[in-house]
Amino acid sequence: MLLTQTVIQTIEENLPVLLPLFIIQLLLMITALVSLIRATSTRGPKWMWIIIILFLNTIGPIVYFIIGRRDDL
């Protein structure tokens, strides 16, 4: 309990430093989701990619962009 409190407190104190990091990760996730929704076909089912993008922080969207996208011609 005490530990989580200290962690939360530390994050709050350092918010101006950490905020850009969170924003960039969020942007990456949103771009991946937009791309996924607009894609006509992907490698593997779409719901799987949604889970990967949402739950694997940073790595998920990158993996989706690199292998999940089928380039629409």
Partner: protein, 257 residues
């Protein structure tokens, strides 16, 4: 004019693929992870615990230019992996799908086809690297201390030459196979082999492009360009030009058959 059309086509394709959004974002993340984690390391150690009561660990704060080198080494490892991954299908994939035939059946020279692709990827990668450098610089100024911006610009210039070399290898390998996976394997294989060769014959290969990154700390710290750095950058530029010409010849031969 024709070249410009091809170049615009490549840029448009990268924008449609969201590459113009995600590659800069990934590069920024790669550049800021190390400054942040280095800064918060004592805090992380403290809060995760696992240390016996009363243990004192003195972690010396690294100098600003050392932290910047950490960002560069991240780019040099994972950034290059990203570069190899995004460029692996640019020609090979188009040849596999038959798009290359559609383009090359028109009076488009092989040389402009290849250089347009090369320039488009260079634009994307160099802009992403520059944005990443700016992000890293911002955090270093905020958390560690002053680092001269002119030195960063110079470092960007030389690091850019190294990245140009990587892109050229990838483009060359693109013309040698129709399978993107093989292109990736060949590109990374060549880079690893070069690195190994340079490490073994270190004294003879002062000009090897693989050495560019190892010369950068001096430049970052003192703002002075070591002579070896000039040579290795020159070597990288010449080898890149050879790879591009080689790619043109190889593509011509492959498409004729």
């Amino acid at each position: 004019m024709q070249w410009l059309t091809l170049y615009k086509k490549e840029c448009l394709e990268s924008a449609r693929n969201f590459k113009w959004i995600w590659v800069p974002l990934v590069f920024i993340l790669l550049c800021i992870t190390d400054p942040l984690s280095t800064y918060y390391l004592p805090l992380i150690l403290e809060s995760t615990g696992g240390l016996p009561e009363g243990a004192v660990i003195e972690i010396p704060t690294p100098l600003p230019f050392e932290v910047f080198m950490m960002s560069i080494s991240q780019l040099n490892l994972l950034g290059i992996l990203v570069i190899a991954l995004i460029t692996m299908g640019t020609i090979s994939g188009e040849r596999k799908d038959g798009v290359a035939e559609l383009i090359l059946v028109k009076p488009v020279s092989y040389f402009s086809y290849i250089t347009a692709k090369w320039t488009a990827y260079m634009t994307l990668i160099l802009s992403s690297t520059f944005i990443g450098f700016l992000a890293s610089w911002y955090y270093i100024e905020l958390l560690f201390g002053d680092l001269s911006f002119t030195n960063i610009l110079l470092t960007f210039l030389f690091f850019g030459i190294w990245l140009m070399f990587v892109v050229s290898i990838s483009i060359f390998m693109n013309t040698s196979s129709k399978l993107p996976g093989i292109v990736l394997f060949l590109t990374l294989g060549t880079l690893i082999a070069m690195n190994l060769g340079t490490t073994i014959f270190s004294t003879y290969l002062e000009w090897s492009p693989s050495k560019i990154v190892s010369y950068l700390p001096v430049l970052l710290n003192n703002g002075y360009v070591p002579e070896d750095l000039w040579f290795s950058s020159f070597g990288a530029a010449i080898l890149s030009a050879l790879f591009i010409f080689g790619a043109t010849l190889l593509l011509k031969r492959r498409e004729m058959v």
